[in-house]
Amino acid sequence: MSVAMRRANAPHTSMFLRMLVRAANLRRGRVITALIAIMVAAAVATAMLNLYVDVQAKLRKEFRNYGANIVVAGKDGQALPADALATVRSILGARGLAVPFAYVIAQDKNGRSVVVAGTDFTQVAALDRWWSVTSWPQQPNDALLGTRALSAITPESQPFDLIFHDRTIHVNPAGILHTGATEDSRIYISLSDFTNWTGVAPIVIEVAASGNSNEISSVMRELTKALPDAEVRPIRQVMEGEANVLGKTRSTLYVASALIILTASLCVLATLIGWVFDRRADFAVMKALGASEPTIAAFFATEVAILGAVGAILGFAVGIAVASWIGRVNFHAPVTPRFVIFPAVFAGSIAVALIAAVVPITLLRRVQPAIILRGE
């Protein structure tokens, strides 16, 4: 079969396709420049949108370093029910931490009063990360002494006795605690030692619930329902501070993303307008050969749309990589790729590319092909 026959029998659309492929192939250099511009713009947009979505979660995690945001306490200073801690932990699951605290005022052998607290050391270490501790107690009867308690009660770090209602416990100072607040005047021992010694049950459970404000309020509602005898209240200081800073950061990031995406689109616009203008000779030849204006417009539009689509896909991949790099560098945790933003980036790229094509095409339409072909 001759070439002529094959071409004659081929469907009409193949000419359109061949023109597209040839056009891209013949001006490879400029196609690559335009593609890079779109790719970079899409990458920057992807990275910014991904960060915008993810940064909240990242910052919330940082804010959990402030410790508890909910307090569960017995009503009117009563002790909590015995199963309170188990109930709180089963409601929380993996959504947060719950740490019990029990307090008494005990005396040392010189009759000096000191607040002794019983708690769960491994949980406290995770909840109150600002506590500066020389070494956490491991053995039974080991105690963690606040700096001021240490210098008042046993400056040489010798083991000592504590007396509560005629019952004595002998404790070893295992570590020193420094917080700059009231904890510095206390002695912490493990909860099991504490209950064996005093028989006093925890009066407070400090809860650090993770998530946004809606999730935290739903945790609070569940806790209130499960523990009708206890009082569940938010630590307003922590909640309000968090909401405040998160809101401002979010707004700043929003403005920054908008500005950056605008500049990136401008870059694509400039490159593509130049690219289409450059091809005015092609435009003129097509027109001179009798192509209708809609056909030519469709041709250029398809061309830039394909560029936009390819650039968006490549740019999305690069953008995800950039976002996760920023996550690792700044938050020491990768930013999760959000594929939900892909449609937005994809549609945005194609839209910008089409806008870029419209401007030169409308300008060229008014010009006679002969004038362009003469190079004027």
């Binding site: 000191v114 922590v238 405040n244 950061t249």
Partner: protein, 417 residues
């Protein structure tokens, strides 16, 4: 001749120049605004973080152990040492006085009210103090911003008191009513809600608590809220172990530790310390947000540079015929390139100036709408931004200029290149 070429090029091709100038203006504007926001955000977020309340606590130096459980002070008033109220204004005389957002003295005492034992907390609400010629207001409204009052805050010189929310409910009291405290009737100006131990307490002007303890001028502790710099390795060094030069640098940096150190110097017989829960975490959050803004600013600079380069490249490649004509008339490559570079520089300076002004305005808007405070642009930034604008414009034009001057004039003039 050269100047005329540049002048005519600008006069006759206003439209093309306009496009490039808009690109440069926008690019520089975005870069300026982002730089200004990134440099200012540390300070802004730091002030927002003051919502967390005081980050430094001052206590008497030779105090006995605190007996505090769940925010309730159980120490008898006869026990322990006190600070002197008259030393308080000295806080505003120290080196970092402008970083002190506010401070509140606290004096808890046990009182009989409504047939039960209740803690009464004496403090400042919005007390007006003077140090030297400077007048300032301070109190819990500054250091404990999450405290909310239904009714009115008492005047610091009045005999009015605030009732904690839960206490008010259990005593069936409302703002405007009277309450008997240790046999004296006081009027309740408002009901206080804090989410903490104060909800079960009476909060009163400091002088009432002092009168009840019988210790005029006595203060148990002072909460200070200060704007600080995130702690780094240098901040954690012991000031006593530093050499004089390092000591001066440490002393003159607004670290929580060095401000606490200066507070301790300012107030006799005191011990000042950063509250680690607030101070430490503040540093972490602050450095994360600053780091984020820095990276985003880099992204903005990168995007602006690309936009400017792309616009310049497009503008120059459009003028191939012109280049061909110049070369056909005998212009050397170097002189053609010089002409283009001169034009680019002029565009960069004009666009850069406009962009700087626009960016400053934008930063101002961002500051007003998000942080409700000023973001100022350092004038030092102007030459730097202009320099960057010229450099980026040159870099963006360089490839296009090289391609334009290397074209064969015959081909370009026939319209084939």
């Amino acid at each position: 001749m050269f100047a005329r070429l540049v002048y005519e090029s600008f006069r006759r091709q206003t439209r093309r120049k306009l496009l490039a100038a808009i690109a440069i203006t926008l690019g520089v504007g975005v870069a300026t605004a982002m730089l200004a926001v990134a440099t200012g955000i540390g300070d802004k977020i730091s002030r927002e973080l003051r919502t967390y309340g005081a980050n430094i606590l001052i206590t008497p130096q030779d105090d006995t152990l605190d007996l505090q459980i769940g925010g309730v002070d159980l120490k008898p008033p006869s026990d322990g040492a006190y600070l002197n109220e008259s030393d308080l204004p000295k806080i505003k005389g120290m080196f970092w006085r402008n970083n002190i957002v506010g401070f509140s003295p606290m004096l808890p005492v046990n009182v009989n009210a409504g047939s039960q034992q209740i803690t009464l907390l004496g403090t400042y609400f919005a007390k007006s103090l003077t140090f030297g010629k400077e007048q300032f207001t301070t109190g819990v409204t500054k250091t404990h911003p999450w405290w909310k009052v239904q009714g009115a805050w008492p005047n610091d010189d009045s005999n009015d008191v605030l009732l904690g929310e839960k206490l008010a409910t259990s005593l069936y009291k409302h703002p405007g009513q009277q309450i008997e405290i240790n046999g004296t009737s006081r009027s309740i100006s408002g009901v206080l809600s804090t989410g903490g131990a104060e909800d079960n307490q009476i909060v009163a002007p400091l002088h009432i608590a002092q009168a009840i303890t019988g210790k005029p001028g006595a203060v148990r502790r002072i909460y200070v809220s200060a704007v600080t710099k995130p702690e780094d390795a240098f901040a954690r060094r012991d000031p006593r172990s530093l050499n004089p030069a390092d000591y001066d640098r440490w002393y003159c940096s607004p670290y929580a530790a060095s401000i606490a150190f200066q507070l301790q110097e300012a107030i006799p017989h005191s011990h000042a310390e950063q509250i680690r829960q607030v101070a430490q975490n503040e540093g972490v959050v602050l450095s994360r947000i600053e780091g984020l803004m820095l990276l985003i600013t880099l992204a903005a600079l990168f995007a602006s540079a690309l936009a400017v380069s792309a616009a310049m490249a497009a503008a120059i490649l459009e003028r191939r015929v012109e280049v061909g004509l110049m070369k056909a008339l005998g212009a050397r490559k170097a002189s053609v390139a010089a002409l283009f570079f001169a034009e680019s520089a002029l565009l960069a300076v004009i666009g850069g100036l406009l962009g700087f002004a626009g960016g400053a305005l934008l930063a101002h808007q961002i500051g007003q709408s998000i942080f409700a405070s000023q973001i100022t642009i350092q004038p030092v930034l102007l030459p730097i931004i202009l320099g960057i604008a010229v450099l980026v414009t040159f870099a963006g034009s360089a490839v296009a200029i090289r391609r334009a001057v290397n074209l064969d004039p015959a081909l370009t003039l026939r319209g084939e290149a």
